[in-house]
Symmetry: C2
Subunit: 290 residues, 2 copies
């Protein structure tokens, strides 16, 4: 695969038949003993994550490694996250690095290079960023995305209950997050790609389908990154509310795919492989049927 992030994501969605993104969230206490003891050993986390990537290749549209679950292991965790990003790319999986970075000036340039730039950067296809510091804080990411065809995923309306505290405050009668979305309109056009979708992605939690539909009217060609499907309680229909015929975004599932009970109980790798394959198929089927 080559080309712009939006083009690759669209192609990968078509190839796997559903807008499914696998969230690579390695919770140490949920990783089966088959892979070692992840509570103190980043090697177990890495083995588990590699095995997930091997199952996921060709069976989802993208993967989203959560760097915040690797950083507690120190530099070795950071190295493991980078190695897994490289492995995912080798397997043909577009990588959205979930880093939620946000800073200003030269520091923001540093984070942009560290996440989207080539080695020693992560060379991810897209990175999540936080808009609280304003447009100038996003600019180094946007400039790098514009120059390389990579993606930038801006947090707009997240899936957690606390999203209400700041994102829902009313500004001239409209929730703050709609103002953040409007601020991103010029960026959506600036990062347009050949697929018709923009390399600008926005995070819109699956737990708020009405908000997702409203967000779609503000940003018609932005890609949606929809967390909160499955274990966080949102249905497939809710999760797909902001997409357009199953395109124009991806729905992220993590716990339901990484830790189904059949996988957690597995005593052999072949049983574990089969359980993960079943979970991937179930999510794909549910998201493609709606």
């Amino acid at each position: 695969m080559s080309g712009a992030f939006a083009d690759r994501l669209t192609e990968a969605t078509r190839a796997c038949g559903a807008p499914l993104c696998v969230g690579l969230d390695p919770f140490p206490h949920r990783i089966p003993a088959l892979f070692g003891d992840a509570r103190g050993d980043v090697g177990a986390v890495e083995k588990f994550s590699e095995a997930i990537l091997e199952r996921a290749a060709g069976k989802c549209a993208a993967v989203k490694p959560q760097i915040g679950l690797f950083e507690p292991y120190g530099p070795e965790g950071f190295a493991a996250a980078r190695a897994l990003t490289a492995k995912a790319r080798t397997l043909g999986l577009p990588v959205i690095l979930d880093a939620k970075r946000g800073d200003i000036g030269t520091t923001a340039e540093g984070y942009a290079r560290a996440t989207l730039g080539p080695a020693p950067g992560f060379d991810a296809d897209c990175v999540t960023v936080n808009p609280y510091l304003g447009l100038d804080s996003l600019e180094p990411f946007l400039a790098l995305a514009e120059a390389t065809g990579k993606g930038v995923a801006v947090l707009v309306r997240t899936s957690n209950p606390g999203a209400r505290d700041v994102q829902d405050l009313l500004v001239d009668g409209a929730p703050l997050w709609t103002r953040v979305a409007e601020m991103l309109k010029p960026t959506m056009d600036r990062l347009a790609s050949g697929s018709g979708w923009s390399n600008l992605m926005v995070v819109a939690g699956a737990t708020w389908p009405e908000e997702a539909r409203r967000l779609r009217t503000i940003l018609p060609t932005a890609l949606f990154l929809v967390p909160g499907y499955g274990a966080q309680g949102a249905s497939a229909a809710d999760a797909l509310a902001g997409l357009v015929g199953g395109f124009g975004g991806i729905v992220s599932a993590s716990r339901s795919i990484l830790y189904p009970s059949a996988a957690t109980a597995a005593r052999t790798m072949s049983d574990w492989n089969a359980a993960i394959d079943d979970a991937l198929l179930a999510a794909r089927t549910e998201l493609s049927a709606t």
Copy 2:
């Protein structure tokens, strides 16, 4: 030094005579050749940063390493930032890790452990966090701070021009950042320390002295972290606007202390040392005289 973050910071401010925080922002192209070529070699960044820490010990109230300038070097950069944090603590300098993290649930717990927790974490004394995701996203940091006496520095009103885009939007006639500050009131009391100041810190840019005074009325015992002094254009009087008799916060200076022209032009380590000492003395004098 031991005890709560706010107590240590207050004691360090008294000992050095000014609320000066040295921002450890290693810009590769500004690091003198005396330390090697920082553009490709993290070793040069580390040598330079160590030398700055040695000059700063006893001459400032805290240091603020900017992890976003280390991450572009990959795992080695991450390791260097961690080693420098450890060195600063050995030198008796309270460390505010400028990481601006923000995520939810288990991931936020991961970031809290990675930044404030013991090895393999950074074991920093305080960490900067982003409030856009709401109070539940801050909770893992606050819980760890409450249990250990460490500090959490929440971005409220930043010093960059883009701060207007989101932070200044009017909610019921008041800027959004005042609502964020009000949301933090219970936290301020929850993280109270023996010094009378809270282990809750708020970031309030020096470029907005009126906002700083307003923020002080909302959060009377919160510590202020004031960036933007010196190279970003704010005067000492502006920078001190939110403090109380020179206590209750620190003013961060980076470029004016790390890269004064006499240091950049230095041909020997002793000339460089003298130039950095002069810059530290000038900032201390300016901030203590106002």
